[in-house]
Structures are given as C-alpha cells and as structure tokens.
C-alpha cells in the first residue's frame, strides 16, 4: 500500500528539493516536513518526503540485531 524508500537530500530550495537513491536523482516535495537539511535522509513516497529518517535509530536497530545475533552464536 505504500512503497517508500530512504533517499538522501542533496539539494533544497524552500519546500522543494532533490534526493538521491543508488545514484538516481529526483525532485522531491518536502512540504510535509519541517527543518530538513541537505545530507538528511527522508522516507520518499510518490515524490514526497513523508518523514525524516532517524539515522541514530537506524544504527541502534542494526546494533541491536547484531548483538542479538552474536548473543545467539
């Protein structure tokens, strides 16, 4: 129901910007988000940023899963 992927904001003018995923760039609409800066990752759905990706949370999730795996081995 909602194909959306993390993309890196590389340009920004007002509520419009350009995001990049896997070397592909596309214009994105950022009006649904506040204080997005260049270098941030946003969740991109149908041309709109619908949330800022919390990179700290992403790293923590990965650490949790890796510890979980080490704990099991």
């Amino acid at each position: 129901m909602c194909l959306a992927i993390p993309a890196k904001v590389i340009e920004k003018k007002g509520t419009q910007g350009v995001a990049e995923i896997g070397g592909v760039r596309r214009e994105v609409d950022l009006q649904l988000l506040e204080d997005v800066e260049i270098g941030d990752y946003v969740i991109l759905h149908a041309g709109f940023g619908i949330q800022k990706l919390d990179t700290k949370e992403a790293e923590e999730t990965l650490d949790l899963l890796r510890e979980f795996m080490d704990g099991k081995r």
């Binding site: 129901m1 909602c2 194909l3 896997g22 070397g23 592909v24 760039r25 596309r26 991109l44 759905h45």
Partner: protein, 337 residues
C-alpha cells in the same frame, strides 16, 4: 483482453514480450503458418539449403525516444538482428533495412539515424544489401519505425540437449537498456547517468563457441527481460531452472530506479546481453573467456538446470528463501503498493 462478446483487441501488453505476446503468437499466428521451422519459435530460423545451414531472422524497432544515452533506433535496428543471428550459432553476414517514416519527419534526424545504422553495420561486420522506404501521412506514424532482417551461416549445431546440472551464464548487468530509455524519456523526472547496453554480441559469442562444444542454448533477453527468457527455456520441458539472486549482476542505478518505482530488474529489457546454457564441466572455462572480452567483463554464473519443479523458474533470494519467477504479463508501471 477478452470481452464477453469473444471479440478481442490488441493491447500494449501484447507487445511486451511476456505472456500475452506468447499467447498471441501461439494462438493466432503459429496456427495460421503451421510449419515446424516457425513453431520452434527460435531467435532465428535455421534453414538447410543443399548442405548450407542458413540462419534467417527479422525484427522491428519502435522506440521512444529515437536517440538515447548509449544508442539510437539505427544502432538498435542492426544489433537486434545481429544478436538474434549470433545466438543460434550463425555468423551474421547480410541485413535488409526497411523504414516506415511519418510525413514531416525531420530530415536531419533521418540522416543521423541512417549514419548510425551504417556505422553499426560496419562495427558488426554485416552489409546492408537491400531495403525499402515507405512514408505514412502525418499523424499516422510515430516518427519512424525500422524493420531489419538478417541472414548468416550456421557453423555450430544449436541448441543441443539441455541436461540437469548445466550451468546458466550471463555476460553482464541486467536492466541497463530499459532504465536508460525510461530516464531518457524524462516522464518520471529521473536523473541518472546510465547508458543502454546496446551492442553486437556476434564476436563474444564466436569466442564462446570456439571454447566449448557443450554450448547447449543461447538467447538475448530483450523485451520481458531475463525472467521471460528463462521461462521460455523451461516452457513445457521436463526440467526447471534455479537462479541465485546474489549472483545476478545489477547496477546500483538500476537498483535505485527499481526501488523508487517498485520494478523488478528481472523483467527489464536488455539489448547487449546473452543468456548461455553450457555443460557443467565447461562452465568456468567459458566464463573466463567471456570475462576477457570487452562485452563480457561482468559475466557471471547465475544458476543451473534442475530436475524439479519442471517448467518453472525458481529464484534463491539473498536471504535464503526461494520464490517462483513467472512470465510477465505486460510492462511494469510505477506503483505505490
């Protein structure tokens, strides 16, 4: 699409190279032209003319835009036919070239296409020996359509019997052509540096054929992509195919666009790729030869022939699960779910 009244119409999906294209050919064309050569549905017909094995094929090209990074309709028209001859083990020799041009089409572009077509013929080592030109009223065509037919001499007997354990090879990354076209069309606002892989494969294939006598089958996965070609190989046969997702070469940009639009790279068209089935014991030898060729540097062994499930293409996913890869129905569309 069948309407209740039984009457039917052509849809875009009939031209996608997938299921509807196959049904169209099987249920509406092969039935009319009943003959064993056609019903083999090979990339080229192989004809026996008093001892000489002649390969013969035809291909039409309707592409938008006409010019795109890495190629144009002229280059595509030559290499498409050259590759269809090469994959049946023939040395491409002569091609025909027929234009259907729309009234008002820009002359400069026509010259540019013709120059590119001539240059591609020289590169592929074939000669344009016959042709035709028709002009249709303005608004009745879409710029220009090109048909090319080609003949060559077969020096190798293909296909040979495919056996369980035979390996499946591909000469590089998949999806480059279709993604380059989608990007060049500019309708989806995508900006990426990617060229079509449009290239003549006859030279690479000749090296492969001189390296091993165990080349069982070859096909260039154009419309409908790798998935369609693999499904064509196993259709109504007593064996199946398994491929390993981790070994299938896909460029980062193609993965990026596929994630963005919800596409599967296995269904994207290619114009410079060949799928080769080779006897297990010759696989690494053939792989090495391919990897030293400029059009095979990214070659990989991506899977093998298996006993069951018959008539199916299975995929081992990167995380260790498996799924069935079916024949596509139409072309992929950007989606949200």
């Amino acid at each position: 699409m069948k309407e209740s009244s039984g009457n039917w119409h052509i849809s875009l999906a009939h031209g996608s190279g997938g299921k509807l294209t196959h049904d169209l050919i099987k249920n509406h064309f092969s039935t009319e032209f009943k003959n064993p050569i056609l019903s083999a549905l090979a990339d080229s017909a192989v004809l026996n003319l008093n001892g000489t094995r002649l390969a013969f094929t035809t291909d039409s090209h309707v592409i938008k835009p006409l010019f795109y990074p890495g190629g144009d309709i002229g280059k595509l028209a030559v290499y498409g036919t050259v590759n269809d001859l090469a994959v049946v083990g023939a040395k491409p020799l002569y091609i025909s070239c027929a234009y259907v041009v729309e009234e008002g089409f820009d002359g400069e572009s026509l010259d540019r296409i013709t120059r590119s077509l001539a240059e591609a013929a020289r590169t592929a080592g074939v000669i344009v020996v016959t042709g035709d030109t028709k002009v249709v009223e303005h608004g009745k065509g879409d710029g220009i359509f090109i048909n090319t037919s080609g003949i060559g001499i077969c020096n190798y007997t293909l296909p040979q019997d495919i056996e369980i354990g035979d390996k499946i090879l591909i000469n590089g990354t998949i999806g480059d052509h279709e993604i380059a076209i989608i990007s060049a069309r500019g309708e989806l606002g995508l900006n990426l540096k990617l060229e079509s892989d449009c290239a003549p494969l006859a030279d690479l294939i000749s090296h492969v054929l001189t390296t091993s006598g165990k080349i069982k089958f070859m096909r260039d996965p154009t419309r409908g992509g790798l998935a369609t070609t693999l499904n064509e190989i196993v259709e109504e046969r007593d064996f199946g195919v398994i491929i390993d997702e981790g070994t299938i070469p896909v460029r980062e940009e193609v993965k990026g666009v596929c994630s963005l639009l919800g596409f599967d790279p296995l269904y994207l068209a290619n114009e410079g790729k060949v799928v080769i089935i080779v006897g297990r014991e010759d696989a690494s030898k053939v792989l090495d030869v391919m990897r030293v060729h400029p059009l095979g540097m990214g070659s990989q062994i991506i899977g093998e022939i298996i006993e069951s499930p018959e008539g199916r293409v299975c995929l081992k996913t990167e995380i260790g699960g498996t799924r069935i890869v079916d024949m596509p129905v139409g072309t992929q569309l950007p989606r949200i779910c």
